[in-house]
Symmetry: C2
Subunit: 219 residues, 2 copies
């Protein structure tokens, strides 16, 4: 006898993801899942996005981490509601964790919820959370070869941010090669170069995101 536990966990997660998506849709809230390696600049990108869009939209953040609450504290320091999830060892967020977190928020008072997933290029790919879009952040210091090694996460993302571009002179990053691989893996995904901590390149990304938010609000 074989029990395919993997499949049943994934099946249950997908069911809950559909429920999450219905909940977000009915509240008119756009939900963005943020994916990246540890230290690629997820929190910095989220803070830059908040700075760019907080005058137009009501924003909250759900922070996923193995341990600690430092990211939620950073977000709250900017006057934005933030819920910290500690996954207790799991290398990805799951739909039920997201649901418990958003249940502590007043969705009727929000336009945008940003989910910061656990820093990982592998585990989150299999877990739909009910988000409307996934953004994958690659940072220049990680190297241009990452899509070769972790193709799946670059394929499931709807949009890619190339972060820390201000450090390009310090690193041997072949941007043409990176864009070439991305064109093959995920030709539809726009790529936004950015230096989130410097505020560089944030406007184009924020414009893209605002258009997607309006799409959900217009339903």
């Amino acid at each position: 006898m074989e029990i395919d536990l993997g499949k049943s966990i994934l099946g249950r997660n997908e069911e809950l993801a559909r429920e999450n998506r219905r909940l977000f849709d009915s509240a008119g809230v756009f939900v963005l899942d943020v994916l990246a390696s540890p230290g690629a600049g997820k929190t910095s990108t989220i803070l830059a996005t908040i700075a760019a869009l907080r005058d137009r939209y009501r924003i909250a953040v759900v922070e996923g981490d193995i341990a600690s609450k430092v990211d939620a504290e950073k977000v709250r320091a900017h006057g934005i509601p933030a819920v910290q999830i500690n996954t207790g060892g799991a290398c990805h967020l799951e739909s039920d964790m997201v649901r418990r977190a958003v249940d502590t928020l007043d969705l009727g008072e929000l336009d945008l919820v940003i989910l910061e997933n656990v820093g990982n290029l592998v585990c989150p790919t299999e877990f739909d959370l009910g988000q409307h879009a996934r953004v994958m952040i690659l940072s220049v210091p990680e190297g241009h070869d990452k899509p070769y090694k972790y193709p799946n996460i670059f394929q499931i993302a709807e949009v890619v941010i190339l972060n820390k571009v201000d450090t390009m002179p310090m690193f041997d990053f072949d941007e043409a090669d990176f864009r070439d691989v991305m064109r093959r893996l995920n030709p539809a995904a726009p790529i936004f170069p950015m230096a989130a901590t410097k505020g560089e390149g944030v406007e184009k990304w924020a414009t893209w995101l605002a258009a997607r938010i309006e799409g959900v609000r217009a339903r």
Copy 2:
């Protein structure tokens, strides 16, 4: 009925890890497991280690990746035997993968086997591979707060390399804070600052590793 599949997979892995360790010990080969985020500089550190130690020791490398064979090709370009493992989606190496890889090498002709684990700060922590030591590489661009968020991997490492220290002026990296957290998480672990691609700081690390290799050879 409940089947704790997790435990049984881990139990089987540990049994195979013990077999691997007996095999490595009887061949007098030191085995180093290299852990880090994607893009922290695992391959560059391995190449710098090879350059520092190849005159004294016979070295081979086992490369673990989700996909691609670029890392094994980089190592082979330096005239060092390299075996590529593609984990087919798994976010860590396991003992049976390592065993199949080293079975293609002539252990009697080697002093040091370096295992480059999959780029991940979570999954590899639970999987003993039969290695003699684990080195955790944190790169400066990732930020000094990583031990707060991923404490376990910093605890299971015997030694830590702080890589890309030449980029310190570009990043807001608080080295004193990093060392302070490490003293609490893992007080025995030495920390070697390094810029692997520049060859900076490699000598002290190579001296530490050579002492550990001699320890296994002297048994």
